[in-house]
């Protein structure tokens, strides 16, 4: 090896191999280990989207079918949606939590999907902050409204 190095005029095989592939991508060490206990924003948005998708898939269809169609068609018992009965139900704290989830989760599901649809399908390439703020902001506003209304019942 030593003799060959002298023959080729100074550069060793290791140096030549090292120079051909520059691995200059290091993991960014800006954030401290604490980062691992604070989830990245994207994870939160995605988790909300995922949970929202579950709620929308499992719970929403039956509610739409009952409130939107069955009630108008007269398929429900007469007093099913009477003011007293529904108020009685909605005043229960567990019912409030259920109703809150029912209203709020699909909003976050919509927010995430709509945000990316604007960028990837409507072709809006910039305004990332604005679009994200509008989408998640609307969902948060909806959440605040829901909490306020539920507390008033």
């Amino acid at each position: 090896m030593q003799e060959r190095r002298k023959e080729t005029g100074g550069i060793s095989l290791d140096d030549a191999l090292g120079a051909s592939e520059k691995w200059d991508f290091e993991p960014k060490k800006k954030k401290p280990e604490l980062y691992l206990t604070i989830p990245p924003k994207e994870l939160v948005f995605w988790a909300l989207f995922s949970a929202g998708g579950m709620v929308t898939a499992f719970l929403i269809p039956i509610h739409v079918a009952i409130l939107g169609i069955a009630f108008a068609a007269g398929w429900l018992p007469d007093d099913a949606l009477s003011y007293e009965r529904v108020l009685d139900f909605a005043r229960h704290p567990l019912a409030k939590i259920y109703l809150g989830i029912l209203v709020v989760m699909p909003l976050y599901h919509w927010a995430h999907r709509f945000r990316y649809a604007v960028h990837h399908q409507l072709g809006v390439h910039g305004w990332k902050r604005l679009v994200a703020t509008f989408c998640y902001g609307t969902a948060t506003l909806g959440t605040a409204l829901t909490v306020w209304i539920l507390l008033r019942i």
Binding site: F25, K28, P39, P40, E42, L43, A47, G123
Partner: protein
Amino acid sequence: MELTLRIRRYNPEVREDPWWDEFTVDVEPWDHVLEALHEVKWRQDGTLALRRSCAHGICGSDAMVINGRNDLACRVLVKDVAPKVTVEPIRGLRVLKDLIVDMDAFFDGYKRMLPYLINDEEPPVRERLQSQEERERFDDTTKCILCAACTTSCPIFWGDEGYVGPAAIVNAHRFIFDSRDRGARQRLQILGEKTGVFRCRTTFNCTEACPRGIKVTQAIQEVKRAIMFDRLG
């Protein structure tokens, strides 16, 4: 049999805009589109530029858009596309000439995943032992040949600068779920960023395009879940 190829040409030294060329070649039905391209290049138009190496579906050099779908030219049979086939360079990457694209953006995403074994522990006397179940865990993603068919079929990659792309995530998955590796945390940290895994909208184009049959979308979702439970657990 006769095959007409409609090829998307581009040569900035000759013409500013890309153009289409049509060639008719005589090939066997069991030849691949790559052989037909060779007929064009070697016998009709020597200026046609394309990348190819093994011609057997394993090196991943000749990924192209054939009849609107991403595939390796050496895997698509002439009899499946005859009598007319459209050949274009893969999308989302800058075209250098004809069917050759600039793969730098693709490989940058790949390199950011630290695609090498990270294990600073004292190495064992012989091998790092691994059970069959542990090996099975990441078996699917070891198949990646870095052909870029998946990444260049992803609409998110087309429209979003910075998204690392499915191939990078697949190669990260291969190491994250390898029991011999200790760099999972570093890679998950990188993938949890805006340009990482959460860009995926489960469009499934990548899984369809992969010539190796890797369940790309599944691998991406597994990484998403790993980030979630790594944070919570």
